[in-house]
Amino acid sequence: MARVLALKEAVESLVRDGDTLAMEGFTHLIPHAAGHEIIRQGKKHLTVIRMTPDLIYDQLIGMGCVDKLVFSWGGNPGVGSLHRLRDAIENGWPNRIDIVEHSHAAMANAYEAGAAGLPLAVFRGYIGTDLPKVNPNIKSITCPFTGEKLAAIPSHRPDVAVIHALRADRAGNVLLEGILGVQKEAVLAAKRSIVTVEEIVDDFGPRSLNATILPSWTVGAISVVPGGAFPSYAQGYYKRFNAFYKEWDRIARERDTFLAWMKENVLNKGPEAFAEHVRGLRVAAE
């Protein structure tokens, strides 16, 4: 059954040095507040999995939390490069990181297979690309019925998954809606999980009979962090703060501006700062 914990306590008890960590959210519902907490607690030697490393992993990488990155698209969407990621790969700053590179299809299938308790994902992919030359984990199986060769990769089975969701109920069930990404799969594929939410409600109330819900018994800890996805967004709560994605390009371009920003906005702040961030972005009640 999910426990309701303060974010600090949730990260302290569930994220460990050396863990394989998956923080997911596909543009929507990216768990930025949890990322900041992991940085504040100085977690080290993480293997981090994420389809689109994005600002959240640019920050973890730039602060030296990461030894290895498993990913499929490492940019600032619609803006350009992730400068901290590039600095780590191109120059080894603040430390060298290993990279395990996949395609989106592979990553999505690897989470799906992990959630399904399988050791591998099988799909039609990687045909004619150089990725198998640089990622030894891209192998193949042969269909015993048609002889077709299909791509095979290990499923994702992270030690801990961290996501942001819309809300939880008192029983600890978690509701997702809108762009769902791979978050449900990431939590089901992981041994442990932390879900930050906008709020806890008494009851989800009227909803689709097929609402996307992570039942309480599949979730580790729930932490209430209003605004916790900022500058990403939470459908029905607040909008994406596009300007910050562009601003990040300037902040992260140089090491010193990056470090100054991290000190001021992460190391010297707490999760409660996020409610403030989204004050001007709230959408009207649905």
């Binding site: 543009t27 619609g78 191109e90 799906e112 004619g128 690309t129 799969e185």
Partner: protein, 261 residues
Amino acid sequence: MTPSYKPNEIMTIAAARALKNEDVCFVGIGMPSAASNLARLTHAPGITLIYESGTLATRPSVLPLSIGDGELCETALTTVSVPEMFRYWLQGGRISVGFLGGAQIDKYANLNTTVVGPYDKPKVRLPGGGGAPEIATSCGEIFIIMAQGRRGFVDKLDFVTSLGHGDGGNARERLGVKTRGPTRLVTDLCIFEPDPETKEMIVTSIHPGVTRDQIQENTGWTVRYADTVAETPPPSQLELETLRELHARTARAHGEGGSKE
């Protein structure tokens, strides 16, 4: 009278024209998104647009900055999970046209969005493949939009991120791929299409006022031309106005210069 327009504009408009009302289109951010939505707002109102974030049949009024903006979800017929998107919709063969771009392209329309320089010691680390490796082989056909220049149009890719026509001829067939691959490459100077035999991308239409010298100067291989090369019809008033209004709405919605292209 032909209105005046920018190279980027005719590139987007020429790409939009290639889309049909019946197409189901897997859209990437930037110019593909502008071209697809322009087609929807002009000659192809029934086109189905799909973004890899899981939004099916979306009808955004402004261009998204990212692949998963709320606008895409709110205007979609429905939104599915990302594993479902890649399994049932892309791999399931339900997309007729995929749009791709890249940092580097070769004459067989293979694309590199991974690294410039050696993989282990990159000169420039690019974002990586994202959806492209499987878009390139699972969609019925592929349209590529890229501004033309020597840095991008290269004789040899540093890394093949997504398959075009491989080393030409029946390369795709030899790899067991049943889809058509790149059928159109639209640049700010001209339009390339694959030679039916060799599958080399050859110029079939040149944008108004562009010379063959300009095209060659901006291409890292010796450009070949179709027997009959057309002149790309200039943007119509409607196309240009619709595109500019779309960009203006987008800029207002995003608070500044609109989506980056």
